[in-house]
Symmetry: C2
Subunit: 226 residues, 2 copies
DNA sequence: TAAAGAAAAATTGCATACAGTTTTTATGTT
DNA sequence: AACATAAAAACTGTATGCAATTTTTCTTTA
């Protein structure tokens, strides 16, 4: 998989080097990746269309930021989309995929006990990816992944911030319950648990931002949550 | 609303001048819109990211085409997304929006009786747009509109082809039933009717393609349905 | 010291040019 | 006439340059 320029720039956002509100300077990016501004601009436009960054005429593109209301709307939408994936996956996943899911849950338990946050983030990604594939619907998979991509900076924060989401146990248990329902072919129940899981994630995130923002010393990092 | 280049090119697809599988020649488009290739390329990349067209390295971009399976997956996904919009709109629309919906349904009945297909296509667009707004969720609205955009060439065909979807009465009646449920605040029922409505649309579309493709004289227009 | 305005620097938007591929047309062979 | 091959044309990918706009810095004034 030869990392495209588009992916390289997206990675800057995904790994947190660029945060919501940060500007994307075409010249710096061009220097950094050893190309001219032309392909950089094309990549930025693509990321703009996928909603990861915001394009403003005549002004630098910035990493997209969500205010409180938008964040809660995004999570509501994502909750429903992921719930749909889960309910379809419960009925449509094949044996190989079910085996993979079981293996992932075992590995994930291990990781959550060791409190390995980067690994947990990775497994969260894989867990949802398995359900996106298991739903056997390419359009739905595209939609689900785009939605996740858009809120990437926020969901990553959720996993990485020590103290919030104090241990990784609860999200892991939620995943485990969802996996059980999926493997048992109980679509309705899987969907219900998924909605709950995503709703919980939003609450943790809101909690986190409330705490970090109310500290008046914090220099109100631009773009965090407006 | 100063039509952007991106919108101008999208319009070529939406109004049917460019069909699925057709190539987008950068030079011709540049000449046509009186600009250089640079902004054309940027617009094409954006449309590629939104999924209306397909970008192939070193080869011309083409209007995206769906095979049978992809089309049915797209409609399944769209059905669920639209159903979600409808069920939320039933609970969240305000009085002004409900009035607009009632007005639209009256106008739509008129149009369907006169068998005015272009107008019916327009009203279909507005009907779903009202529900997207009524759901009070910007992320969901974005997702719903992107999904609709992707299958635009196919849903437009559905409305325009005489003989198929023989009269406009049935889709109008379906819209009316959905609107009634929404206005009565019955989200579950609105969702159910919406799913049915979209499923019907897929069936009509498949019917249409089956008939047009089985005629062996038809030169197998590239990109229609593979 | 703070605010307002002007000058300088930085940055985006777009046209153009050219190298490298792909596509089309022309040519030759069985 | 059909197929394979070669030459020509067309097209995409990217670098570069310049005009227009935005952002930053510097200067002036209250």
């Amino acid at each position: 998989m030869p990392h495209t320029l588009r992916q390289k720039i997206a990675d800057l956002v995904i790994n947190g080097e660029l945060k919501p509100g940060d500007r994307l300077d075409e010249h710096s990016l061009a220097d950094r990746f050893g190309v001219s501004r032309t392909p950089i601009r094309e990549a930025i436009r693509q990321l703009g269309a996928s909603g990861l960054i915001e394009i403003r005429p005549r002004r630098s593109a910035v990493v997209r930021s969500f205010d409180r209301a938008e964040l809660s709307e995004a999570f509501e939408a994502m909750g429903e989309i992921e719930a749909l994936c889960a309910s379809l996956a419960a009925v449509r996943m094949n044996e190989a995929e079910r085996l993979k899911l079981r293996a992932l849950m075992a590995a994930s338990q291990d990781v959550s006990l060791r409190n390995d946050r980067p690994a947990a983030l990775e497994m969260d990604f894989e867990f949802h990816g398995l359900l996106h594939d298991g739903a056997r619907n390419r359009m739905l998979k595209t939609v689900a992944e785009e939605t996740r991509l858009r809120i990437t900076p926020y969901s990553a924060a959720l996993f990485m911030m020590e103290g919030y989401n104090a241990d990784l146990e609860r999200p892991h248990q939620q995943h485990a319950a969802i996996a059980d329902a999926v493997l048992a072919g109980q679509g309705k129940e899987a969907a219900r648990l998924m909605r709950e899981h995503i709703a919980q994630a939003l609450i943790s995130l809101q909690q986190f931002f409330e705490d970090t923002q109310s500290r008046s010393d914090a220099p109100k990092v631009k773009g965090e949550v407006r």
